[in-house]
């Protein structure tokens, strides 16, 4: 805290950002560089350091000068991520905290080692093919979903018993909603 206090008024941002789709965080730092201009900063990303300037910024957009090159940018915060459009590509970043919480649950939505089958996409439950107590083999179809006219069958990841069905046919569900719970049979069971 002592070090932080010393930086008060100088350090604008010091963040650990994780580009979406990767697990490697990047530490970035932004410090005002008043001598060079009102919107000039020293920017550091990892070992890379340079001078930047933000020109003509408006709501969610602006121009960035970096190394003598000026590029337009757009950004928006969406869910727990910040989306940045620059140079024809959209980049997504999340904070270190969001990365940690996501990593602790970083299996694909519907492939559930825990036996929780969740919706991999928002959509409508078209058909439920199992009920509580049913025994299913690996690969058996459990639920059929439809979203934006695409049909998708969710199957059992391993041989198991259906312990609960948490959805109803015809209902809309959000991405990640729990649909079916499975339990692996005990050894010999």
């Amino acid at each position: 805290m002592a070090i932080d206090a010393r930086l008060e008024g100088i350090l604008m941002a010091r963040l650990v950002l994780t580009p979406a789709g990767t697990t490697v965080p990047v530490e970035v730092e932004l410090q005002p560089d008043r001598a060079s201009g009102e919107n000039a900063f020293r920017f550091r990303a990892g070992r890379d350091e340079c001078a930047i300037e933000i020109i003509g910024s408006g709501e969610g957009e602006g121009r960035l000068a970096l190394d003598g090159r000026v590029v337009p940018f757009y950004y928006a915060t969406v869910d727990e991520q910040i989306e940045v459009w620059v140079d024809g590509c959209t980049y997504r970043f999340e904070s270190a905290a969001a990365t940690r919480s996501r990593r602790s649950a970083s299996r694909p939505a519907h492939i559930a080692a825990s036996g929780e089958i969740t919706a991999p996409m928002p959509g409508t439950i078209q058909k439920i093919l199992v009920g509580p107590g049913d025994r299913v083999a690996a690969g058996d179809a459990l639920v059929v979903m439809i979203s934006m006219k695409m049909e998708m069958t969710l199957s059992a990841p391993f041989a198991s018993t259906v312990t609960a069905v948490e959805c109803r046919a015809g209902r809309l569900v959000e991405m990640g909603a729990l649909l079916v719970t499975l339990k692996e049979p005990a050894d010999g069971g």
Binding site: A5, E8, L15, L30, T77, V86, T90, A96, S147, M150
Partner: protein
Amino acid sequence: MFRKVLIANRGEIAVRIAQTLQEMGIRAAVVYSDADRTALHVARADEAYRLVGVTAAETYLRGDRLIEIARSCGAEAIHPGYGFLSENAEFAQACGDAGLVFIGPTPAAIRAMGDKISAKRLMQKAGVPVVPGWSTDGDADASTLRREAQRIGYPILVKAAAGGGGKGMRLVRGESELAAAFEAASRESKAAFSDHRVFLEKYIDRPRHVEFQIFGDHHGRAVHLFERECSIQRRYQKIIEETPCVALFPERRAAMGEAAVAAARAIGYTNAGTVEFILDESGAFYFLEVNTRLQVEHPVTELTTHRDLVAAQVRVAAGEPLPFTQDALSQDGHAMECRIYAEDPENQFLPSIGTLRRFLPPAGPGIRVDTGVTTGTQVSVHYDAMLAKLIVWAGSRHECLARMRWALRHFVVLGVRTNIEYLQHILAHPEFVAGRIHTHFLDEHPISIASADVSREALAVAAWASRGDGGLHLAGSGDGESDEAVSPWRSTRGWRAY
């Protein structure tokens, strides 16, 4: 000519049709679901009528309500666009019965071509080459199915008789997959088209999908407006279309064009339609199906023939002769279309829903964007995931590719995931650039969009954009809460300073 036409559709195609109607001095009436109250097609129309409900079944598929609205608002004709009721013969019939002109082919032609099984038989009779296959009008028992599949030879496709757009279609590589694929295709077909019948067809390796735009009028004239190559598909859904097709030299183009017109004549086709062929590596072509509607990809034809297909549809429906003869039609330059979808290429292309926080399509010479969304539009699960069609024209394919790359690089969409970068990667692929494409292109050349490099510019913007949140305030003063009211991160609190 009509004074008012009801557009029985939504999204980009409703917007596009409204423009032509208004240019022709015809009032454009539209309908909207509760989810589409603030949609662009409503804003662009001269008048708009509510359809109570949200799902397609409650709204845009309610033929009875659409006819009621058309009659009560004084429209003389209905334009169905594509999808929804555009290929529904009963709806076309009901329009006629209610004294409304259905802007499209006759119910009989829709019926004849809508059933893929009977369409194929009809074309075979008319001398148009067809792909080997097997079909039945009744239900298929397992042993017959196995025997016929064996005869055709794996791999085979199971396709919905009433299908289109890849729905109710399954690829079967061996006998073990046959029964499950048959059942799934049947079920999907039942859900999508209320018709469970499916048929088998020989799967042709590395074919090109080449379709011909046809047009017929009520005065016995039928023409084609050349081809569109739609080989770049993902899960049987077209994503990039272009014209001309690089694999067609003049003689083959003429032969396919003649076959397309012969197909049109065989069913006395009126209005706009598309005859789809597959072209194999040896140059042989086979009839696939006829789409009895305006196609999604019609703009590439418009840009190279300099014709407005919707205007021609309206004129023909009003009883006028076709506004062009075969001899007057020619192809000028090269046009390409990319379909921009709200989907996540990094997560199995699952639909991406949310609010469009920023939607800025590119503009400039030779660029056309057909869209039904704007910044602020909610992309929902209820309708198609296509946000826009980006269409470009240039003098040659080479210039066209450069222009499309430029346009994609300047297309800003924030708020939902899109396939824009995925499309950029396809357009940069040397095989695509060389024109060596086929319908399995994306399976054969998987496009990985994951990049190891994180742009320094993007990191700088992210840092700057989040400077008020957690940066100085958490690190410096230890009082992160006080600034939260003005922070864009208020609801997340996720950003941490170190």
